[in-house]
């Protein structure tokens, strides 16, 4: 048994994992990163459009600050988010982006003077202030009150990932590439590392660690059509679930992105609509303002995706030989804009559709995009039930996004969470002696070895690719954008039966070395367990909130469901065990209300009016926004001391008030 010891073991080499690794390394700890692919191939690279941070440098961002970003995020989440975490996040996002600016990310910058833009289908001219020249600019995104998505053309995630990955190399952090964690080593109370497998040779390895961090991203591949990379099978969340101790939060909250190209499911960025692109139907009619007069194409993703699907269901979709879809029109943005700000979109259209988006319409249809749910942690990124286990990024549910994530909050979350969780892990390691029980490690190692040997030898009747396709089909048919009790019951039954059939998988290939069939064979039952958490959570939640939409329970029900689903998988169980964690409305800085888009109807919480009065009283009582915030919902104690200072902004005074010398918005409004 080969055993490697490290202070901090980070599983996942995308933005969140690498940033956490750098943070822990800077505190003097030995860090090892495991990644199933070379880290620069991680799905973080696919984030195109932008990173939300309230810098307020560009004209349409004027007046933006932490408060506005916070309110957008909480409304986007449909009040499912942990508001203290959302506060930490919006406070940290400007620091994270400024750090990345120091590290080399070539953020697009404000060009002073007259700039042309497209807003609500009209060409307009914006006159950027001379004082803002060269500062980081931003574009519009869905569900936001201000232009806040800072960007690098439409390769934002790519630039961020390359910069952070190269900084990890600069910090001499070893990344063990093509190594997959198969299980977490734990004693029921404390996580001690992981058993891992070399995907090139098949060799099994043991890693022992003081702190273990899962940063493996989402699990979109349990669906048929997903914008996710094919590696996004949720293995980090799954091995946490398989401890029987760690819990997963809000797994039923699955986001569908409005604009995946049809039928390939490849993402084209929300920046297309943020920059002025429109959605058209079979008659080339712009239909979104009919449903959402306020925000049109730029309502939140859950809302836009639902309107698109129901518009198709009304028979208004365009038809192609592959099925029905709608059109994304970015022709009005012009060739120059597309060639500089939407380059990846242009390439994707050219290579996968054979069209030029400056001249032709792009066929799009919503596809699975993001997993709001994940490993439940506290605000420091640590599991509440399994100490020494941390998680960050899309794999985690510290609960920034609730039931719907805003575009641009994902890459922002990865770096913010990496900065904070890396610090927490360092604190944890420096405060806890790491002792290694070799007997425990051996027990887990031999268990994995035996499971793999058994899988190779047993020659069962079930084919793994067929079971995988059946899972994806069940999830797409019954656990998609629109859900109801009948479909969800059918999904739970079918997924349960597929999980049973996994015990009878037989390999057609040898199962040696890098054999891809073996890999899918051991991943599939883990994916099915995640799928069951999604389906069972969706079945139990008899309301509609954010991306979770029940046709048979169309309203958000704060009186019953202002809570978070927690799923645990006891050893040997056939289904997850669910429990619910209440969200304390009396501690909320922003009590539940209408989101500003989407359905206006909801069933209020009995204490909503009371909390609303308290919030209004505080607003009158306190002179500046910092004092008001502190009085309503203190959160700075959750942050490391080095990150507690206020963020400076152009035209913002020490009291947090915004004073544009030429009056905000001004002539260009």
């Amino acid at each position: 048994m080969k055993v490697l010891h490290t202070d901090v073991l980070v599983i996942g080499g995308g933005l969140a994992g690498l940033r956490a690794a750098i943070a822990a390394r800077r505190r003097g700890l030995e860090v090892t990163v495991l990644s199933i692919v070379p880290p620069k191939r991680s799905h973080s690279a696919a984030a195109q459009g932008g990173m939300q941070a309230s810098l307020a440098n560009c004209l349409k961002g004027f007046g933006d600050n932490e408060d506005v970003h916070f309110a957008d995020t909480v409304r986007g989440s449909d009040w499912g988010a942990d508001q203290a975490v959302a506060r930490m996040f919006v406070h940290m996002a400007p620091k994270a982006i400024r750090e990345l600016a120091h590290w080399g990310v070539p953020w697009n910058r404000v060009a002073p003077g007259a700039q042309s833009a497209v807003i609500n289908g009209e060409k307009v001219e914006l006159r950027e202030r001379a004082e803002a020249a060269g500062l980081i600019t931003a574009r519009n995104f869905g569900g936001t009150a201000k232009w806040r998505a800072c960007y690098v053309s439409d390769g934002t995630g790519h630039s961020m990932l390359y910069t952070i990955s190269d900084q990890a190399i600069a910090a001499s952090i070893p990344v063990h590439e093509r190594i997959e964690a198969l299980s977490l080593v734990h004693d029921g109370a404390r996580c001690r590392g992981a058993i891992a497998r070399n995907l090139m040779t098949g060799e099994l390895l043991a890693y022992t660690a003081g702190a273990t961090c899962i940063a493996t991203g989402g699990f979109g591949r349990i669906y048929e059509v997903s914008t996710n990379a094919i590696i996004n099978q949720g293995m980090g969340a799954a091995i946490a679930l398989e401890t029987g101790v760690a819990e997963l939060g809000n797994m039923e909250a699955v986001q569908f992105h409005p604009t995946a190209i049809f039928p390939a499911g490849i993402l084209v960025t929300e920046g297309c609509r943020g920059d002025g692109g429109l959605l058209l139907d079979r008659n080339e009619h712009r239909f979104m303002p009919d449903y959402e007069p306020e925000k049109a194409e730029l309502a939140s993703r859950d809302v836009v995706s639902r309107h698109m699907e129901s518009h198709i269901n009304k028979g208004l979709g365009a038809t192609s030989r592959f099925g029905e879809h709608l059109w994304l029109d970015i022709r009005l943005l012009g060739e120059d804009h597309i060639n500089t700000r939407l380059r990846e979109v242009k390439e994707i259209c050219q290579y996968f559709l054979g069209i030029d988006p400056a001249r032709e319409l792009i066929p799009v249809r919503p596809a699975q995009h993001y997993s709001m749910g994940g490993i439940r942690t506290d605000a420091h990124g640590q599991s509440g039930t399994l100490k020494g286990l941390f998680a960050c990024g899309e794999a985690a549910c510290w609960d920034l996004h609730g039931f719907n994530r805003l575009g641009g909050n994902s890459v922002a979350e990865t770096v913010v969470a990496g900065m904070l969780v890396g610090e927490s892990m360092a604190d944890f390691c420096l405060g806890n002696e790491a002792s290694v029980d070799t007997g425990l490690v051996r027990e887990f190692f031999e268990r994995e070895q035996a499971a793999l040997d058994n899988l190779r030898r047993r020659g069962g009747a079930q084919r793994v690719t067929a079971l995988n396709a059946a899972m994806q089909s069940a999830m797409t048919r019954n656990v998609g954008i629109y859900r109801d009790a009948d479909g969800l019951q059918a999904a739970v039954a079918e997924l349960g039966s597929l999980l049973e059939r996994c015990a009878d998988i037989g390999l057609q290939s040898g199962g040696h070395g890098a054999d891809p069939e073996l890999v899918l064979a051991y991943r599939l039952p883990r994916m099915l367990k995640l799928a069951l958490c999604v389906a069972q959570g969706a079945l139990n939640r008899t309301e509609s909130r954010g991306a979770h939409c029940r046709l048979d329970f169309p309203e958000r029900d704060d009186s019953q469901w202002l809570n978070r689903t927690l799923a645990r998988w006891p050893a040997g169980a056939a289904l997850p065990e669910l429990r619910y964690e209440a969200l304390d409305i009396m501690a909320m800085e922003l009590p539940p209300a209408w989101r500003g888009y989407g359905s206006r109807d909801f069933i209020p919480h009995p204490q909503q009016a009371q909390r609303q009065r308290e919030v209004e009283a505080a607003t009158e009582q306190y002179g500046n926004r910092f004092e008001r915030q502190e009085a309503l919902m203190p959160y700075t104690h959750l942050l490391p001391e080095r990150y507690r200072s206020h963020n400076a902004r152009l035209f913002e005074d020490g009291q947090g008030a915004f004073n544009d010398p030429e009056a905000a918005g001004g002539a260009a409004e």
Partner: protein
Amino acid sequence: MNDAAVIAKDGEEHGARRLRFEIFRFNPCDPDSRPHYDTFELDDAPGMTLFIALNLIREQQDPGLQFDFVCRAGICGSCAMLINGRPTLACRTLTGTLPDTVRLSPLPVFELIGDLSVNTGKWMRQMSERLRTWVDVAEDVDLDSLETPMDPDAAQAIYELERCIECGCCVAGCGTAVMRESFVGAVGLNKMARFRLDPRDTREDADFFELIGTDEGIFGCMSLLGCDDVCPKDLPLQTQLAYLRRKMAKVTLTG
């Protein structure tokens, strides 16, 4: 059905042409394995990419076939291979653009993992360590104040070169890299050009010369420019390499 199944079904229903794939096979972990080509056949279909085709072959004909795809959208650089001898990204290659017989081989130069899978990650990390492909930063920079302004055009020019996805096509298409293992390739040289443009990088030309002023660096380039021909991101490699060579040659004259 997923997109692959939808497209494949469409091909079957519309009586498409038959494609013949000759695929390189070798598993270094298996002592009995010998390098050879296996042949597979498949119906072509409109919209079918090599990502879809290879997955169909794996699902229906040979579950052990090894290849690497991650994003399947032409942005992550995992799936570079030789397609009828030319290095390019498989995921965004439409089968409709290919002849009836398609020969697929792993990229040369890089260590073979198995079949079409090669270890570009290890090569790229070593290159990054050698060339120090990062901006040196102090550990505690001020994160609370306004960021340092940067010229918008300068930022855009840096991004033009930063679009490299480390796929390895330029290395596989390079005469020098095939002959000289330690050559940093257009990928490495382009990164030096990118950091040279960056005002946050404090290195001078003399410092860059220390890194690439040899036959393993810019003076190893024979100007065959296979890199520029095959770069899937259309990076301006010809221009950048020529410019860099001039700048580095100048260091030898003045420094």
